[in-house]
Symmetry: C2
Subunit: 687 residues, 2 copies
Amino acid sequence: MLRRLFPAVVLVLVTAVPALADEGMWPFDYPPTDLLQSRYGFTPSREWLEHVQRSVLTTGGGTAAFVSPDGLVLTNHHVAYGQIEKLSSPEHDYVRDGFFARTREEELRCSGLELKLLWETQDVTAQVRALMSGPGTPEVLAAKRKALLTKLESAFAKKTGLRVDTVTLYQGGEYWLYGYRTFDDVRLVCAPDEQAANFGGDPDNFGFPRHDLDFTFYRIYENGKPVRPEHWLRVSEGGVKDGELVLLAGHPGRTNRLRTAAQLEYERDLDRPIRIGLQERRLEVYRRYAALGAEQERRSRNAIRGLENNLKRERGFLALLRDPAFFAGKRAEEDALRARLAKRPELVAKYGDAWDRMAAVQAELRTRARTRSLREIGRVSSLVDVANTLVRLTAEMEKPNEKRFREYQDDQLGVTRFRLFSRAPVYADMEEVVLADQLQMVVDSLGAGDPWVRAALGGRTPAEAAHALLSGTKLADVEERQRLLAGGRKAVEASTDPLIAWARALDPAYREMRAWMEERIESAESVEGLRIAEARFQLDGHASPPDATGTLRLSYGKVAGYPQTESFVPPFTTYYGLFDRAHAFDDRDPFTLPKRIHEAESRLDLATPLNFVTTCESVGGNSGSPFVNRAGELVGLDFDGNIQSFLWTFTTADHQSRSVAVDARGLLEALRKVYDMNALADELTKR
Amino acid sequence: MLRRLFPAVVLVLVTAVPALADEGMWPFDYPPTDLLQSRYGFTPSREWLEHVQRSVLTTGGGTAAFVSPDGLVLTNHHVAYGQIEKLSSPEHDYVRDGFFARTREEELRCSGLELKLLWETQDVTAQVRALMSGPGTPEVLAAKRKALLTKLESAFAKKTGLRVDTVTLYQGGEYWLYGYRTFDDVRLVCAPDEQAANFGGDPDNFGFPRHDLDFTFYRIYENGKPVRPEHWLRVSEGGVKDGELVLLAGHPGRTNRLRTAAQLEYERDLDRPIRIGLQERRLEVYRRYAALGAEQERRSRNAIRGLENNLKRERGFLALLRDPAFFAGKRAEEDALRARLAKRPELVAKYGDAWDRMAAVQAELRTRARTRSLREIGRVSSLVDVANTLVRLTAEMEKPNEKRFREYQDDQLGVTRFRLFSRAPVYADMEEVVLADQLQMVVDSLGAGDPWVRAALGGRTPAEAAHALLSGTKLADVEERQRLLAGGRKAVEASTDPLIAWARALDPAYREMRAWMEERIESAESVEGLRIAEARFQLDGHASPPDATGTLRLSYGKVAGYPQTESFVPPFTTYYGLFDRAHAFDDRDPFTLPKRIHEAESRLDLATPLNFVTTCESVGGNSGSPFVNRAGELVGLDFDGNIQSFLWTFTTADHQSRSVAVDARGLLEALRKVYDMNALADELTKR
């Protein structure tokens, strides 16, 4: 389910910095025309680029595209999953059964969903540079820059009528205004049953061969009528061939291609192993809980799926970091960059020591890596999270806005309150089991004499403490939370709720650790990361693409299988393969043959390609991106990357990294022969 | 093609020693009844064991089994490949088209094929021990033992009417007489087309999922009539389930489970990397040669396939040796064995220093590892081999029999002459290209000043030398070889053939290296390996099975998929998967859908299981072994192991090692619906 959605809001500790890639994810403002011409003999015209750019939308965490003149939009089932779930009811389980509107009237309006289309951009780097080279302290200049950008945004918005964001590329090397058209009347048209969309489930996630119909259709309305987009991608009936050029247009979330070797070593040696250990233990305890009965299984299902998915990704990243060849490559990249820098004395003076300084920050970070992670275990409980939020928020609100923790500043309060007052069900019994186990782990790791442990347990065993906290608290009651927040710091300090008391007791340690992390580590990492990015941009300019920033990018590559330990992974799969895999696992979950496909077998051309893999770079956020051929037609729908594609977060393609797509031919075959959606298929393909 | 045939004659440098396995490949004389009972609740009866033992045959390099009361025998297509090829003619290409005898008259008699069936065994350890504890020098005792065993063999043969071999288990811990029934009238009954037998070719070799119909049927005749075997395995129509117990009866060739960590380190650091480097370079030059034209492609095809296959295996072994977890496991095994030994002072005195002595031998071996391998490059040329053989053989023949190199002693001369006078076609142009490149590599590695290099080149460039040698020699003419051999040492010394002169010039270096290798390395490895094996046997006796020795063994396990990097490998494949893989690769070689199967699609039940994987241990030599269920029925036919099964050469099962089988249901489906061999299918299944 989670796969590769890119969380719209994410706390990132490390600085993102650009790549040595010769492939890359390129802004449409400077597409890789030379590379495309030299490698594939293809030069996209201005019209081609505009056509593709103005067909592609972002959902916030994923990508989508216009695919008909009547406002049809195609994205992934797992991107639309939350909407499909929200539209379901006890009578209609659209997740389980799929949703198929055969008339406009049957289309269902989504709530809280806005799609954005990048329409126009403007480079404002020169204005920002001119301002920043003027006099003033860094703080003054930063404030001036903010004011300038606000002014520029307003002017651009006024001129174009678009929603405008400032986009920073190359870690501050360039400033752009991105103007979006926005659409908020989005209606669900067609979603397959989850078993077809997510056949193979977690075992097959991040893998290939795959056999998933991971698609959903929306239709966008304006003023109660289907929108008539100026650009949309026709779905190709001809499909793609092995080795054929394809281009991927979407919104990749984040890459970290200039992370230094020292940062990666920290991640390899401490950060990821610690996190994996914590999550493995948590998964184990959820599984024990799930084994208690059907209701416990249901309550813990989401947590288990999320942990499994996350662990698969984390382990994939760790395996990559532990691969000596990968590390040698990263080191060679870093050495080459520094060697080129060394030939430019004026740059050496300005940037030369950034790598050593970054290494020093990592050395300090290592000293508290384990303790810091262990103290965060309260996150496993939504009730502990509520208590922490109440204690911290009420204290922070007494400070002026700019002195507060970031998440409690005025512009963030909406999100914070939303979380605090969520009426999502709370399973205190489950949270207790998990918290007890995580506390036990902290005791085992830090020792009973550790001051934080003593404060957390108060002389009790972990099980006793967890029970007292979670059975004694009243915070499951949203009105109680509202009462405490309304009463402010005083009410919170007077509260005798055991969880509030616990949060108060641990708050000083939290504030000390956070201050150290922000002041000693993150700010230094940010400064050195920016210096490295600047050095790179001074040397290379647009010769390398900027790191992904969640904004629209174009990547290119070809349909291609790849060698793997045991054999050779094919470029395509077919419906035959779906039937094979279901039978090979004796139809057991998650390899159960989807019922409608089973029933449609005699109508299907089983040789129809179902999924394919390409060398086009993609990362989280690309889910739902269209694969486009030279003619600007949609030939596939990105829905995953294989486990080797994690590499793309750090560096350019290796010989095994692949993006995974639903083949347009497989999609049309399903619409016509499985789901009886001929009109929809015709709308996608008509000329 | 090569897959896992176990070469009947093989030069093995290292000593084979037994395993710490708790699974294992067990002699039928002491089957793992306790393990089977505790793990699977199954205790095979005496009758069950006799029934299975007396149904299984060896082909010399592979395994086969009686599968009908009328003498039908089932083995692998790749085991029978040489016979099928020999029976083919320009008019009838049975390799390409398959062979299908629909009457007894159409069955074709094979030449030079003898199958052996282990009928009875006798433990003669006590007699040998009694003799060996008597007085005498080691040489005298060895001669006495040989005489005793010859006498015992004769007596057993006389008593039973069987062909008798002495079999040494536990590296000399036990001596057994194995009495075989032999069959030499073997007729080809049915072989599928090669594309069906070997679908996926080299890319899929050692992998899973697989989709191969790797089977061939023979029928054994005696006195012109089909033999009526006392025991044969009925082919099960019910098949096996995921997780079900299966037992594998066959002739695994060789395992090395007590090899010391020092030996494995040598193999990991030097032996395998050097060999892989030499072979990779050779493969590259063959491929360049193949690219010159269709005839060159044809000439080099076998060499290329052989090298590809071998490299895949070598790289698999190397990856395993480089896996820290594997090495840690081996070390732990070794440490545990030595720790148990340390508690028995009488054994410490006798065996305690064997591991350190073995390490010292490896240290010496390391000093000349590279040079020794490089000097062997002449092996790439059959003509160089002929020249070397003539020079060495004529010199050796002047010595008394027991002083000669092993391969020139009287009992080996037949094989040596057979190779020397082979009329197989010689492609001197191809050999020249390869020899030139390999010589260049030696120069690059050892330097032009190296004495061996100077002797080999005689002032010429590698290309010049190779050209002079291979275009100037007359040794392609078999009569010339016969003339030289008949003339003996004198004729060879007088020869002006450039290749003979070359072999003469390099002979002293060869003899010096070989003497060092045999006297300093191999004899010491043999002695220390035996001491370690003895120590183990003294501690454990039959609690661990002996290393494989090419003789009949029983292994057990269950049908089971396994986790792999990207996903989960299923326990079975189906015909659907065959069609999927062919279409996924666009029907390109080696993934072309076999024509007859393509034509049979509408008749086939595509969900029929085609291949499966099990945890039963197997190694080279097991090809063609029957998988048997509790009822003693044949449910599958072993034809490969996955790449992780290479582990089984060194240690017991890990969680990914699997044997790969043709499913009996897939076999019957093919006989009935693809090959129109209903009578054969009925013969296999009738009750």
